[in-house]
Structures are given as structure tokens and as C-alpha cells.
């Protein structure tokens, strides 16, 4: 299971790795053994990098609020699978790759009229195939992918023409 976390206006990827000894997290490519213990309602003790921290953690929908290091922090959790399958983007006109991957099928071309839910492309990432569908009715503008090509996280995959 992987999550993208929006923190201080940047995206970070967090991956869970289970092994005999316990749990590791791969955060932005680096691996860390971790342990988390509940201390009371909303209170936890986190062990990471040989340090223990006491924190308060509350989830509210996809928002996470944390009190740690004497301050309050907030983050947003983004499930790349949900994100890829058609949730809203910042400007409503393009879909951006939430993680690196490869294009398996391209279902549209420039100028095609699409309805909300129509498949645009199928991508593969981490051995999972995901269909990316139109998030609104519209006309396909740019298709920046081709079958077999790889793309980076953050690259614009498909864009629709500006709504009238």
C-alpha cells in the first residue's frame, strides 16, 4: 500500500513494507524501520531512526493533524489509485501522474469528445494496472503518452480543452 502525502505544499511518497522483524516505511525512497504505539486517545509514541517521539494524531477525512515537536502540523493523504482514477486536479483541465509508471493502453486521441467516466488511458505502476478516466465531459486536447512509454510523477498525461 502506498500513499502520497501532501505536506508543506510538496508531495511525498510513503510505502509500507512488512518483514519478519516488523514494519518499514519507504519515504521518498529511503527506508526506515518504524514502530508506533498508542498511548491514549489520539496519543502515540513513534520510534523512528533510533528516536522516540510523543505525538497527538487525528484524522479527518483525508486530512491528518499532528501535534509534535511542540507545534501543530497538517497533511493531506492522497491514495494514488483513487487519484489516478479520476479525482479532481488543480486546474480541472489536465491529469497529472501521481506516481511514475508506464502507459499500457491509450484510449483517446486529440479532438475526441469524451463523457465523464470514459477511459483515457491505462497505466501500470508497481505491478498494478489502473484505468484513468475522464473526470468531466470534454474534448481531449493533449495526449502526452504513448503505449510503452514511461512517465514521471507529476507529468501531465492527458489534458482536456478548457471548459467553455
Amino acid at each position: 500500500m502506498k500513499l502520497d502525502v501532501k505536506f508543506e505544499n510538496e508531495f511525498h511518497s510513503v510505502d509500507l513494507l512488512r518483514y519478519c522483524g516488523g514494519v518499514k516505511l519507504r519515504i521518498d525512497g529511503e527506508e526506515y524501520p518504524v514502530a508506533l504505539q498508542a498511548n491514549g486517545p489520539g496519543q502515540y509514541r513513534l520510534s523512528l531512526n533510533g528516536r522516540d517521539e510523543n505525538l497527538w494524531i487525528v484524522h479527518d477525512g483525508d486530512e491528518v493533524f499532528v501535534h509534535a515537536f511542540g507545534k501543530a502540523w497538517s497533511m493531506k493523504l492522497v491514495d494514488p489509485v483513487d487519484f489516478a482514477s479520476g479525482s479532481a486536479e488543480d486546474d480541472g483541465n489536465s491529469i497529472v501522474a501521481p506516481m511514475p509508471g508506464t502507459t499500457v493502453i491509450v484510449s483517446v486521441a486529440r479532438g475526441d469528445v469524451v463523457k465523464k467516466g470514459d477511459p483515457l488511458l491505462t497505466m501500470e505502476s508497481m505491478k498494478l494496472e489502473t484505468v484513468i478516466s475522464a473526470w468531466r465531459d470534454g474534448v481531449v486536447d493533449q495526449v502526452n503518452v504513448e503505449v510503452g512509454s514511461a512517465f514521471d510523477r507529476g507529468s501531465v498525461l492527458v489534458s482536456l480543452k478548457e471548459e467553455a
Binding site: M1, K2, L3, V5, F7, E8, H12, V14, L16, L17, R18, Y19, C20, G21, V23, L25, I27, E30, Y32, V34, L36, G42, Y44, L46, L48, N49, R51, E53, L55, W56, I57, V58, H59, D60, V64, F65, V66, H67, A68, F69, G70, K71, A72, W73, S74, M75, L77, D79, M126, K127, L128
Partner: protein
């Protein structure tokens, strides 16, 4: 002497909680009034009785004199505590209550009216022997007169255009040569900017400290002062941090200011708690600003160093009791600091913040007091001003009070609504605050306080880990990509 059975609090939030606390201690029933948006607020839950009020807006409900009087009648309240803000300095409210046979816990109508007018209060202050900012309110004829009057006032002085505003047509002069030149330039600037070259002069108070005196008086004319509070840390003229005593005053100045404050209170036959505000320059010269005829937000710091419950005193005085204290009884012990906790984003130009308080935890420890209008699950909206709570600490000296408030700010947990606690911490840890070098321009001068500390990698990694490890979906084994060999031991890509 009529003891109150029931007191209605014509206010909300933090101060309503405060008044209810003293009422409970005194065995007096409390009545809260609330607009619908406040129906789940802690103060409503804590009051013995609650009456719903209404208005075109939530704030308007708390300003509706008819509505509040009706609530008094329906609840059978003997008296009203007005808190601060809202109707607390509304002479008409005081008058209407008195006419309705309900006691207004505060001074009489005449005192409220007299002190509510800046010109009247300044004239009264002068007549009572209180220092006021020296100024020659008539315009200056020429540069020679400018020099003479400036000399009479005493340097430094500020030459100001009568028609001026926004900082234009103002000049500071430190000696007669500068007064002459300043007059000439100010007149020319005023003529070209406003078409009106008239200039007058008043004393310039440099690096002023806002220092106010707490007074307390009973219905028999016994009037005393309970030391001072320094409230120089202000952002856009709103107080942010207050302390008692002032790190700057000496005993002699305190005594002079206190005695003048008492003289002013006596001049209007003041009853109950009130505050006389002054500005003080680096030479310890002090000048009257205004008098607030109510309890102030920052009253807790005075309570901490005098050991006196000011709300309780107000209620006893309103019941007709004697003050029971002489000036000699008042001793100031230790030091207290208060921070105002606002729902605002200090990193986004202090835009007001909203949200539900999903986690709330009060710091424990010796000498820590939190006066809060919010609690677990309180919904914070923009219906009212953004002050949520006050964090106050006491110490045997200023260093101890400061260390305690810094620690308490870090331990105060308020999640779900952005607050200014980190900003407050940065102010408190500035070396000039620690040394007591505070003045009303402090926050404007120290713009570096606006910059928050960079997040370290250690912090970022820990926060990301914490967020994910507590997410049910993330931790659910069924959602993992196939890693058939994972259970056998560590693996790498």
C-alpha cells in the same frame, strides 16, 4: 446589602467561562445567554441556566439590549456581568438595567459616559492631576512660535499637519534647530499634500510602552490600585502578550501612576474594576491614554501576582460590600505572563482560521492557567472574534514565568484549527523580549519573528510516518501489492 442569587453573563466564550468559575466558587447561580451557533459552546454547558437569544447576526444577538433584559426577566437574574467588549461599556445598557431593577456589575452610567469620550476623559484627567500628553492644540503661527512651544513641551516633539493623516505631514524634532526646520518642511508638505499648511506640535513619545493600572473601588469611595500590566506586544493595535508587573517600571513610577489612576477614578466616583491606560517613554515619563470602565481581557496576570479574584471582587462590590482591602494590603509577588491564543494563520498574513477542535489538551504544571472558551469538539467559525483562549503562567520571577509559558505553549494541543501558538513562541524567544526591551513597535520592528522555522528532515519523516501508520487503509494488509517473499525476510528492489 443584597446578595445575588442569580447572575446573568451578557457575554460568551472565554470570559463567560471565567465569570461562571467565580460564580460557582461563590455559590451563585449562573445564567448564560447564547445565540444558536454557540449552543454547544463550553460556557453554555457550564452555566446553571441558559437562555437562547437571537439577532440578525450572531454578534447582534449579544448586543441586543432588549433581548438581554428579557433573558434577565425570564431567568430571574438579579444582576448582570457584562464581561468585556459587547455591551460592557454601553451606558445605555447600564441605564436600562438599572431602570429594570437589575444590578449592572460595573460602574455607574455617568462614569461610563465620562470615560467613553476621549476629549472629556482627557480634560478630566488633566483636572485630576493626571499626566496627559503635552500638546499645544492651536496651530503654530510661524517657525519662531514652533521653536518656543516645542521648548516648553520638551524634546523630542512631533510637528503634525492639522489636515494630515497616514503618516504624512509629520516630523520629529529633537532640538530647536530641528523644530525650526521641521515646522517649515511640515508646512510646505502639508500645503502641497492637503492644500492646508496648518501645523501643530505635541510631545513625541519614542518607543512607548503600553502600561496600564488596575483600579478597584467600592460604593463607599474606597479606591485602590493593584499594580500595573505591560501590554506592549501588539499587532495592529491588538494586544497579543501581556505581563505583570512591567519589566520596566520602578517602585516610584508605579506609585505615581497608581496614585494618578486612583485620582482619576475618584473624579468620576468610580465603582468596581477599571483600568487606566498610559504610555511610558524610555525616561519613565508617563502619559494618560484612556480609561476602560470594565474588566479587561488581560486581568488574569494581575490576579496571579496579587492573589485577588477580580471577578469575585466585582460581584461583592456590586452586592454592596466594602472593598475590604486598603492600599497597604496590596502586595505584588512574582511575575505573570499571558498569551492570547487566536484562531489565525500567522504564516498566511494572520487570516482567521476555522474548523472543529478535534484534539484539545491543556498543559499541566505548576503555575500554568488556561482560560479557554473552547474545548474538545468546539466548532470555531468566523461568527465572532478569533480569540479562543488565554494561556497564563506564573513564576517567582520573570525568567521562571517566561520559561513556563514557553513550555506550556509547546504542550498546548489544539488540532483541527490553525492557531498562533508557534508565532507566540517565536515572540517569547526573541532576545529583546527576554531582556524586557518591549515597546508598542516591537512586532513591527522585529519582522524576523514572522518567519517560521524550517522543518528538519527528521521532523518531516516522523510526521509522514505518523500520518500513514495511523491510516487504516494504508495499514490494511489486503491493500498491499503482492510481495510473496516479504514474509520471509528483508528484501530490496
Amino acid at each position: 446589602m443584597a446578595k445575588f442569587n442569580k447572575v446573568l453573563i451578557a457575554n460568551r466564550g472565554e470570559i463567560a467561562v471565567r465569570v461562571i468559575r467565580s460564580l460557582k466558587k461563590m455559590g451563585i447561580e449562573s445564567v448564560a445567554v447564547f445565540h444558536e451557533v454557540d449552543s454547544e459552546s463550553p460556557y453554555v454547558q457550564q452555566a446553571d441556566h441558559a437562555v437562547q437569544i437571537d439577532g440578525p447576526s450572531p454578534v447582534a444577538a449579544y448586543l441586543d439590549i432588549d433581548g438581554i433584559i428579557a433573558a434577565c426577566k425570564s431567568s430571574g437574574a438579579d444582576a448582570v456581568h457584562p464581561g468585556f467588549g459587547f455591551l460592557s461599556e454601553n451606558a445605555q445598557f447600564c441605564q436600562r438595567l438599572t431602570e429594570a431593577g437589575i444590578v449592572f456589575i460595573g460602574p455607574e452610567t455617568e462614569a461610563i459616559t465620562a470615560m467613553g469620550d476621549k476629549i472629556t476623559s482627557k480634560l478630566l484627567a488633566e483636572k485630576s492631576g493626571v499626566n496627559v500628553i503635552p500638546g499645544y492644540t492651536e496651530t503654530l503661527k510661524d517657525a519662531d512660535e514652533a521653536v518656543k512651544v516645542s521648548g516648553d513641551i520638551g524634546y523630542p516633539v512631533m510637528l503634525k499637519a492639522s489636515a494630515g493623516g497616514g503618516g504624512k505631514g509629520m516630523r520629529i524634532a529633537w532640538n530647536s534647530a530641528e523644530a525650526r526646520e521641521g515646522f517649515e518642511r511640515a508646512s510646505r508638505e502639508a500645503a502641497s499634500s492637503f492644500g492646508d499648511d496648518r501645523v501643530f506640535v505635541e510631545k513625541y513619545v519614542e518607543r512607548p510602552r503600553h502600561i496600564e493600572i488596575q483600579v478597584l473601588a467600592d460604593g463607599e469611595g474606597n479606591t485602590i490600585y493593584l499594580g500595573e500590566r505591560e501590554c506592549s506586544i501588539q499587532r495592529r493595535h491588538q494586544k497579543v502578550i501581556e505581563e505583570a508587573p512591567s519589566p520596566f517600571l520602578d517602585a516610584e513610577t508605579r506609585k505615581k501612576m497608581g496614585e494618578q489612576a486612583v485620582a482619576l477614578a475618584k473624579a468620576v466616583d468610580y465603582v468596581s474594576a477599571g483600568t487606566v491606560e498610559f504610555i511610558v517613554d524610555p525616561g519613565k515619563h508617563f502619559y494618560f491614554l484612556e480609561m476602560n470602565t470594565r474588566l479587561q481581557v488581560e486581568h488574569p496576570v494581575t490576579e496571579m501576582i496579587t492573589g485577588i479574584d477580580l471577578v469575585e471582587k466585582q460581584i461583592r462590590i456590586a452586592e454592596g460590600e466594602s472593598l475590604g482591602l486598603t492600599q497597604e494590603d496590596i502586595t505584588l509577588t512574582g511575575h505573570a505572563i499571558e498569551c492570547r491564543i487566536y484562531a489565525e494563520d500567522a504564516d498566511a498574513d494572520f487570516v482567521p482560521a476555522t474548523g472543529k477542535l478535534l484534539a484539545f489538551s491543556v498543559p499541566e504544571g505548576e503555575g500554568v492557567r488556561l482560560d479557554s472558551g473552547v474545548g474538545q469538539d468546539t466548532e470555531v467559525t468566523t461568527a465572532f472574534d478569533p480569540m479562543l483562549a488565554k494561556l497564563i503562567t506564573y513564576g517567582v520571577d520573570r525568567d521562571e514565568a517566561l520559561a513556563r509559558v514557553q513550555k506550556a505553549l509547546r504542550e498546548l494541543v489544539m488540532l483541527g484549527v490553525i492557531t498562533n501558538t508557534d508565532y507566540l513562541g517565536r515572540i517569547l524567544s526573541h532576545p529583546d523580549f527576554a531582556s524586557g526591551d518591549t515597546h508598542t513597535g516591537f512586532l513591527d520592528e522585529h519582522v524576523e519573528i514572522l518567519k517560521k522555522d524550517a522543518t528538519s528532515e527528521q521532523q518531516r519523516v516522523a510526521l509522514l510516518a505518523a500520518a500513514c501508520l495511523t491510516d487504516q487503509v494504508f495499514m490494511d494488509r489486503r491493500h498491499q501489492a503482492e510481495t510473496p517473499l516479504a514474509d520471509m525476510g528483508e528484501w530490496r528492489n
